[in-house]
């Protein structure tokens, strides 16, 4: 798949590039957050932006997340397009009132007169050896909040394309960045014209016939690995990368499950009340008579995110996924 012209880039670099291109193309795009300026962010995702565009375009804010998002609301009211960085998933919690009561609703509250084109970048998930409060998967909160788009890339090109789309969107977008994929590499040529994918379309990352793994973000590579491993067991697994949780691409997902007749939803977020329940329920509503087995879920346990030395037992891995696939009642049919 690699051509000579392409150089490997990390997801972090693609994200930086997306912001840089957006800022260059549109002077109303402003980046703000803790340490995003001089330092370039603790993950270096905003590296170089303050230097290139000045501190007024890429601003180190005081340390207060509600203040960051709240002032971003005001900036958006005045026609800017703020791109806000929350330093870690758990540190977005102080901004929840602003998010739920204002960001998600302003368009609706004002009959469409005051849209808020804000992108909220949230590094999320575990697997990076972080101590407590640094590895939460908080997507359940976001998807249950009408008025937000919730997007998460799993590949380097998607990181670029989806972030450009998020910044271009006239609606607020919670942009979940899988921390442990920041340093994942892909051959990707930032110098080429980049496709900007519309928000809301899932993609089949790997076609397969036996069952569908429905997943997103940090679990996509794990599912692809599981699909490879499954070949040894005689299963040909399809892997669907949702990319966008809201809006949800029912069409792509249901088409896949109708084809395969079996499905497992995989995510790192806790199981109870997590996105998996929603996904399993809507797949079942749409594909009931095609299902050979109930849609199963492989997810993080319903516990506070564990300490680094135990996280590997918490995170959905290849074995746990294959165990779930094995429980899809193969004896019964097909």
């Amino acid at each position: 798949m690699t051509t000579v012209a392409l150089k490997p880039a990390t997801m972090a670099q693609a994200l930086t590039r997306a912001m840089r291109d957006a800022m260059a193309a549109d002077p109303s795009v402003h980046v703000l957050g803790e340490d995003v300026g001089t330092l370039g962010g603790v993950f270096r995702v905003t590296d170089g932006l303050a230097k290139e565009f000045g501190e007024d375009r890429c601003t180190d804010t005081p340390l207060a997340e509600a203040g960051i998002l709240g002032t971003a609301v005001g900036m958006a009211m005045y026609g800017l397009r703020p791109v806000v960085e929350m330093q870690f998933d758990a540190f977005a919690y102080p901004a929840f009132e602003q998010l739920i009561s204002h960001v998600a609703r302003m368009r609706n509250r004002t009959r469409g007169r005051m849209p808020l084109p804000i992108t909220i970048r949230v590094p999320y998930g575990g697997g990076i050896g972080g101590v407590e409060h640094h590895s939460d998967s908080s997507e359940a909160y976001y998807i249950a909040t009408p008025g937000l788009h919730v997007v998460t890339p799993a590949t380097v090109p998607d990181a670029y394309g989806l972030l450009r789309a998020a910044i271009a969107s006239d609606d607020p977008v919670v942009f979940l960045e899988p921390k442990r994929l920041y340093w994942s590499k892909d051959t990707w040529n930032p110098e080429e014209p980049q496709t900007v994918d519309p928000i809301g379309r899932a993609v089949v990352r790997r076609p397969g016939r036996s069952a569908t793994l429905i997943t997103y973000g940090p679990s996509v590579p794990v599912c692809l690995e599981a699909a490879e491993a499954a070949r040894a067991e005689g299963w040909d697994l399809e892997v669907v990368d949702l990319r966008s949780l809201v809006p949800f691409d029912d069409e792509t997902v249901a088409a896949s499950v109708r084809r395969t007749g079996r499905a497992v939803v995989v995510h790192e977020s806790g199981s109870f009340g997590g996105p998996g329940g929603e996904i399993a329920a809507r797949v079942t509503e749409r594909c009931f008579h095609h299902l050979e087995a109930p849609v199963l879920r492989v997810a993080g346990f319903d516990i506070p995110y564990p300490p680094p030395m135990l996280e590997r037992h918490h995170l959905p891995g290849v074995d746990r996924i294959l165990d779930a696939v094995a429980r899809l009642q193969w004896e019964a049919g097909n």
């Binding site: 005081p62 203040g67 709240g70 005001g74 009211m77 602003q98 368009r107 005051m114 949800f248 069409e251």
Partner: protein
Amino acid sequence: MTVMEQRGAYRPTPPPAWQPRTDPAPLLPDAEPFRVLGTEAAAQADPELLRRLYAQLVLGRRYNAQATALTKQGRLAVYPSSTGQEACEVAAALALEDRDWLFPSYRDTLAVVARGVDPVEALTLLRGDWHTGYDPYEHRVAPLCTPLATQLPHAVGLAHAARLKGDDVVALAMVGDGGTSEGDFHEALNFAAVWQAPVVFFVQNNGFAISVPLAKQTAAPSLAHKAVGYGMPGRLVDGNDAAAVHEVLSEAVRRAREGGGPTLVEAVTYRIEAHTNADDATRYRGDAEVETWREHDPILLLERELTARGLLDDDARQTARDAAETMAADLRARMNQDPVLDPADLFAHVYAEDTPQLREQRALLRAELDAEQEGGH
């Protein structure tokens, strides 16, 4: 020989980073609320302005009464009256230029109307046919804000954005004494001071947050004393003295416009009515307290001043009253019409474009409504 000398070469030095950044003294409020009416300062006040304030106060009082009456008739879901606080409401609107922005809290319908918003549109939220009834961009008035203090960072962000764009726009944000306890109050003031954003924070200290008196809300010498902790000036003003409030706010707006940064203004006033029509104020305060404040009524204070200076005769008084009655009659008439509702509006403007999920839900509702119509129930 002092201890120091005994010790020879070693001389203490302050920590290297230490240089006092701002002189705190000018940031501290005066001990007494600033007043104009009935003082020497009143002589300087522009008669035209006083007359304008007077007319607006009378109009505002009438608006409050009419809106409260509308709750009794079931025309409004609820109304948080600003009776007794009209000087603050009116002065806030009048201190601003057209290009400026007002960020009202949920009690500030009157300021919104004084800014030019249609009196009926200002009540849409409380009537319950939609949330924000007016176009925020038409008169540069943010939506009436219910989650307390959350509008303050918006004002900061907007003012900051305007400054970045080179526009000399000021944002004035209103909040109650109770609202100052919220974290958002703190974060907004801090951002504003660090960014030197052109914002005026206007606290109406009306003595209560629903039933909770100020003494249970803060132990500070005054709310205006919070300003120094952010590095902005704090000003204390008699909130029932329309001329004083107008002067202090205008001064703060001017400072902000000229790049002098934010100001915190505390107006000491009183909520004469209950928290809303649904509240029973007798549960937490006595009539005597209310009576004392009635004697310090903002209209009374201004009327006295105008009368003493020969600026208000019976004619002028009557004109103001007539204008108020006309407004009230119009409001009554328009509010007595049932708003036109479309259930499909539920799905309007959730996003720029419906998600597939919303399209399905819209269709479901449509089918239900059709069935209802057919079924006749």
